[in-house]
């Protein structure tokens, strides 16, 4: 049985020729516009944990800078809690999405080395911020020198308690390299004082409720301690009323904490916490996006391996000034105004 043709050969050929001509014509017409459209860059910013309020500002600032630059598609993603294995999976997923660059805040170092190296091997620009993965092939680390931050925390402990007594150390998750370095910095300072003994570290795993309970626990069980140095002070992100022992203690055992977030400032203003040593939260997003954009668009752009942030210290002396800053920072626009800073250029 002969095959029936639904369309005659000459008609098919004519149709094909017309379609090809149309396609070529459309292509020629569209070409100048395609060439003129600017290249867009997909940048993924990955915080250590999506739930830590400190990273809200990093998100806002990354979005602000992406909007300013105009040619960036920003992806803000990560693990709900500080979990390096989930973070490693996130990085692998982003490699498959062929992003142009990643800015990673490491929950832990080891699980992230292989995915970061894989990303770099596939031509993705990778930098780290806040918490580094120094053994990986990432381009640079933008953040505070964690050891130096620890030293500042230790120095403030000595400043407020004197050079005699017990200092209790508290941290977040035990595996985070930046926190381990902060602890090392605190210990390095305290080791210079023979009359100072350290206890701990104790860990609250970045769980605010656990941290609050732990702080109260420590104040009840060690009322004669000189100071508690908390290098990842999520316990102080809640309300003062959540820690009755802190209220009761009111400066007897000195409390020296990391971060200078809005929620922590009343603790200083009311005399419950003696010193806060913070970071440039706005810079976490704003400057990482700036740095990555420079690296992607300018092949001659260079940076040192550590691009350092400043380390602000808040005490009773300057807490009002900081409270004023944070008052306006409840929205993205407000925060952008309060913490406005110039983007970091190539170095």
């Amino acid at each position: 049985m002969p095959k029936t043709r639904l369309v005659s050969v000459p008609l098919r050929r004519r149709t094909l020729i017309r379609a090809s001509a149309l396609a070529v014509g459309a292509g020629l017409l569209a070409r100048p516009y395609v060439a003129r459209a600017a290249k867009r860059y997909t940048i993924a910013v990955i915080p250590k944990s999506l739930s830590n309020p400190a990273f809200d500002y990093a998100r806002w600032s990354a979005e602000t800078r992406a909007k300013e630059l105009g040619d960036i598609d920003l992806i803000w993603t990560g693990s709900s809690t500080a979990d390096a294995n989930i973070e490693a999976q996130t990085i692998s997923g982003l490699i498959n999405r062929h992003v142009d660059a990643m800015a990673i805040d490491a929950a832990n170092t080891e699980p992230l080395v292989a995915p970061i190296n894989e990303a770099v091997a596939k031509g993705i620009t990778v930098i780290t911020w806040d918490s580094d993965v120094p053994q990986s092939k990432r381009k640079l680390f933008y953040g505070v020198d964690s050891f130096k931050m620890g030293q500042l925390l230790g120095e403030n402990a000595i400043k407020f308690m004197g050079d005699n007594g017990t200092v209790i150390l508290v941290s977040g998750p035990p595996g985070a390299s930046n926190l381990a370095q902060r602890l090392a910095g605190v210990k390095a300072v305290l080791a210079k004082y023979p009359g100072v003994k350290t206890l701990g570290p104790y860990f609250d795993y970045d769980d605010m409720l656990k941290g609050q309970n732990l702080t109260d626990n420590l104040l009840v069980s060690h009322p004669d301690a000189g100071a508690i140095v908390n290098v990842a002070a999520v316990a102080f992100f809640g309300k003062v009323s959540a820690m009755p022992q802190v209220i009761k203690n009111k400066g007897k055992v000195k409390l020296i904490c990391s971060d200078t977030l809005a929620a922590e400032l009343p603790f200083v203003a009311d005399g419950y916490v003696q010193a806060l040593v913070g970071q440039d939260y706005w810079g976490w997003g704003y400057q990482t996006v700036s740095i990555i954009h420079n690296l992607l668009t300018n092949p001659n752009c260079h940076y040192p391996e550590l691009v350092p942030q400043g380390l602000p210290v808040v005490t009773a002396a300057n807490v009002q000034e900081w409270m004023g800053k944070w008052k306006g920072a409840t929205t993205r626009q407000g925060a952008a105004k309060a913490f406005q800073e110039a983007p970091i250029g190539c170095m």
Partner: protein
Amino acid sequence: MAVSTTRESRAAGLRRLLEEAVLVPWAGVLLGLIGVCIVVAAISPYFLTVDNILGNVALYFSWFAIAGFGEALVMIGGGLDLSVGSIMGLSGMVSALVLASGMPLWLALIAGLAVGAFAGAVNGFAVTRIGLNPFIATLATLGVFRGMAYGIVLGAAVTPPNNAAGKAFTALGGALGVVPVPVIVMVVLAVGMYVALAHTPFGRHVYALGGNEAATRLLGLNINRLKMILYVLSGLTAAVGGILLTARAGTALPDAAEGYELGVIAGVIIGGVSLTGGQGTIPGVLIGAALLGVINNGIVLAGLAGYWQQLIIGLVIAAAAGLDVFRQRLAYLRSG
């Protein structure tokens, strides 16, 4: 000869007493709790202070115990609820959101509890109607409910407003005199749950369901309805715990109580609730949670670095689960 007979009868009596003690689901853990308390009290003079016992130890384990009561019902009935931590976080978040939108306290509490009950009903539906294994069903909803807590606020924290309703909400996490409110709620719930489980037909049905589901069905009981009630109660108690811990913290975080399901289940198992169902008591759950609270407190009091905390708690859970297996074998041998 007479002396050795007396010794033998004494030894046999002691052995019988020990066996009886092991057979009572919570007797072993009560002894363990007393032992740990003695050790910690000997190490630190601050252990047996009112501030520490009520304000630290009891407060810390209260939300684990509260959520544990509902979890125990499900487990005694032969099920499992892995989603309690997520329900705690979601309920607290919803209550805080309702308050933040200017609504009154009673509405915030009802909303949080309703979310807990609904979440429990979803678990019950997945187990009874879809026929999913409780482990799989609640493992899935663990992610779903946690994801909802993150999604509705896009990962942000929600702080109740500083108005009358917000202050009243925060007061729920405070204390009446020296006794924290969550501890009072825990005791009231424990009494209610104990009566319901030990002295009502409902309680007998729960034990029967966990002991032998097929036989219970033959008795004419509506198995699916009973299971649904147990999961809803588990969701409700988790919601109570979640609302109280949010009130205590003063801020609702989407990751609040993340991973707490392990602490809740650990307390329940340590308290003598059998993993295979049909056994367990509310006093046992209370004691199990208390033991975890004392260990947690004791590590700090003893000045042990936090690196050891999880190891010690893990060993206690392993010992309790081992005791459960031993108890079942002993009961089996005794039954002939």
